[in-house]
C-alpha cells in the first residue's frame, strides 16, 4: 500500500485541480454575492455538452473550445443573473436559492429531453496518453487541468483585488446601498460577477471533458465537492479555492486508498464539517467580527 501513496497523492492533486476549477466560479458567486448557486452543476453540465458538441460536430478539440466557450458562458451567466435570477427573486436570499434551484431543474430536464440520458464522451487521440512523473503515470488531460488551475486562480484573484470591477463586486456583495451611493451599478456588477462564475465553469468543463463524460446528471457529481472546496478555502477566496481543491483531491484520494473508495467521500465531508466548525472562515478566508 505504501508504494501507492505517492501516486495516489499525485492523482489526488490532479483531480483536485478539477475541483478547484469548478469551485472558482462558485466561490465568486457564492462567497462574494452570497448566492448559493444551485444551478452551478447544471451550468457545468451545459458547458460540458457545449464542448462536447463543438468537438463532435465541429471537430474542435475541447481545449480549443476554451476561447469560444468562455465568452459565451460569461454572457449566459450575465443574462441569467441580470434578467432571470435578480428580477425573479425580488432580492430575497431565500428566493434566490429557489430561483437557482428551479433554473437547475429547467436546465437539467431540458438537457434530458433534448440530449437524452445517454452518456457521451469525446473521442480524442490522446485519451490514453499519460505523463510519467516520479514513477507515477498521470493522465495527460488531468495534468493539463492541473496546470490550468494553477494559472487561472491567481489570474482571477488579481482581477478581483487589483481592478475597479473587482472591488466593486466585493463592495456590492457586502453593502448594496453603500455601493449605490458611490455610484456602482449594482445590477450590472452582480451580473458581471455571475458571468465570471459561469465563464469559470466553462473553463472547468473544457478541461474536464477529455478525461470525463457528459450526462444530464453529471453536474451533481461535482457540485457538492465544489461547495466543500469553497468553504474549505474560505468563501470568496480564490487562492483558497485553489488550495482547498487540491487538498480535497488529496484527502479524497488517500481516504479512498485506505478506507475504500466508498467511504473515501466521507473524508471530504468530514473535512467539510470540521472546517465549518472550527474555522468557518476557511483556510484563507477572513471574517468580520
Amino acid at each position: 500500500m505504501t508504494s501507492l501513496i505517492l501516486p495516489a497523492v499525485l492523482s489526488g492533486l490532479t483531480m483536485g485541480a478539477i475541483y478547484a476549477l469548478v469551485a472558482l466560479g462558485l466561490t465568486l458567486i457564492y462567497g462574494v454575492l452570497h448566492i448559493i448557486n444551485f444551478a452551478h452543476g447544471s451550468l457545468l453540465m451545459l458547458a460540458l455538452y457545449a464542448a462536447y458538441f463543438l468537438s463532435f460536430h465541429g471537430g474542435l478539440d475541447p481545449y480549443l473550445a476554451i476561447p469560444i466557450l468562455l465568452p459565451v458562458f460569461f454572457c449566459l451567466g450575465y443574462v441569467l443573473q441580470r434578467w432571470v435570477i435578480a428580477p425573479m427573486s425580488s432580492g430575497s436570499e431565500q428566493n434566490v436559492l429557489l430561483v437557482t434551484l428551479a433554473l437547475s431543474m429547467i436546465i437539467d430536464n431540458l438537457a434530458l429531453y433534448f440530449w437524452t440520458s445517454n452518456t457521451r464522451s469525446v473521442d480524442i487521440p490522446y485519451a490514453y496518453n499519460t505523463v510519467e512523473f516520479l514513477g507515477a503515470y498521470l493522465p495527460l488531460g488531468r495534468v493539463i487541468a492541473f496546470l490550468a488551475a494553477l494559472a487561472a486562480a491567481p489570474l482571477l484573484w488579481l482581477f478581483m483585488t487589483r481592478t475597479r470591477t473587482g472591488s466593486a463586486i466585493r463592495a456590492v456583495a457586502i453593502e448594496k446601498r453603500g455601493a449605490e451611493i458611490v455610484g456602482i451599478d449594482v445590477n450590472h456588477t452582480y451580473a458581471v460577477c455571475f458571468g465570471i462564475g459561469a465563464a469559470c465553469v466553462a473553463l472547468a468543463a473544457c478541461l474536464l471533458l477529455p478525461t470525463f463524460y457528459v450526462t444530464p446528471q453529471v453536474g451533481y457529481t461535482f457540485v457538492l465537492v465544489a461547495f466543500t472546496t469553497v468553504v474549505l478555502g474560505g468563501m470568496g477566496s480564490l487562492p483558497g479555492a485553489l488550495i482547498a481543491g487540491l487538498l480535497l483531491g488529496v484527502i479524497e484520494s488517500l481516504c479512498g486508498l485506505f478506507l475504500g473508495e466508498s467511504l473515501g467521500q466521507i473524508g471530504i465531508f468530514t473535512a467539510f464539517i470540521l472546517i465549518l466548525l472550527f474555522k468557518p472562515s476557511g483556510l484563507l478566508g477572513r471574517r468580520a467580527a
Binding site: 425580488s90 428566493n95 434551484l101 428551479a102 437539467d108 466548525l277
Partner: protein, 325 residues
Amino acid sequence: MKPQSMGQAVLIGLALIYLASLYFMSSPVWMGFTINALIVAVVALAWNITGGFGGMASFGHAAMYGTGAYASAILQVQYGINPWIAFGAGIVAGAAMGAFIGALAFRYGLKGSYFALVTLAFAEVLRICASSFAITGGGSGLQLRLEPGLSTLQFNDRSVVYTILLVIVALVMALTAWLKYSRFGAYLIAVRENEDAARALGIDTYRIKVKAMAISGAFAGLAGVLYLQVWLFIDSAVVYGSAISIEALIGPIIGGAGTVWGPLIGTLGLHLLGEGAKHLLHNAPGLNFVLYAVVLICALRFLPQGLMGLAARIGTFRKKEDDNA
C-alpha cells in the same frame, strides 16, 4: 392559527376543501399523491420551525428525516421491535440528531449559509454511512415485512392512511401555532431577527436554537417514520438524499416561511403544480419539471413573501388582538 386577512382565509379554505374533497372523489391517484404531499408537509413544517421562525435555513433536513426512518426501520427489521415502539423511537432519534447537529453547529456560532452547508454535509455523511454499513442494509436499504394491521402500523386502505396523516399534520400545525405564540416562539423569532440583540435581552440563544433544532428534528423524524410505514421501504438515497431536504424548504418558502399554514399550503400547492404539469406533459417526461420550475420562478416573482404573504395583503382584517390584552 387565525387567518389575518380575507385572502388568507380563502387560501386556507381552499386547502381544507381540497383535503376534504378527497374523501368524496374516491380517486386513488389523487389520494396517493396527496399522501406523499402530506408526508412532505410534515418535513416542511419541521423545517419551518428552524428555517421559518428561527431563520436558520437548513439544507439538510434529510439528516433528521432519514435518522427517524432508519431508527424505526432498524429496530423493526434488525431487532424485531414492536412498530409502535419503533415509531416513537424514530421521533426521538430525529430529535436527537437535530439536537446533535444544532449543538455542534451553534457551539461554533455557525449561521446563514454556513449553517445551511453544515447540515447538508451531515446529511451526506449519514447517507454515505447508511449505504456502507450492514445494520442499515447497506446499499440495498431496509424493507419492512408486508403485514397490514393496527399492531404493525401498516394500513392497506388508502383512506385510513390519509386520515391518519391528516390528523398528524393537524397536530403538528397545532403545536407549531402554540409554539409561535409562546415565549419560546417569541425568542426564536427574536433570534432570527437579530441574534446579538436577543442575547442582550437575556435570551440564551444557544439553548433556544438547539431546542428548536430538536423540535424540528422530532417532526422531521416523525415524517421519516411516516414514510417508512406508508411505503415500507427505505434506502440511503431515498431518506438521506438531497431531494427531501430541498422539498422541506421549498414548500415553506413558497407558502410563507414562519407562518403556521404556509408550509402545508406551499407543499400542497407545489405538489398540485407538479401533478398538473405531469398531466399536461405526460408524453414528454422531464418537460413537466421544466414547466413546474418555470411556474415556480414566476411564483417567486410575484410572491416574495410566499402565498400566505400575498394573501395577507388581500382584504386585511383589522388587527386589534393585543390591544385590550
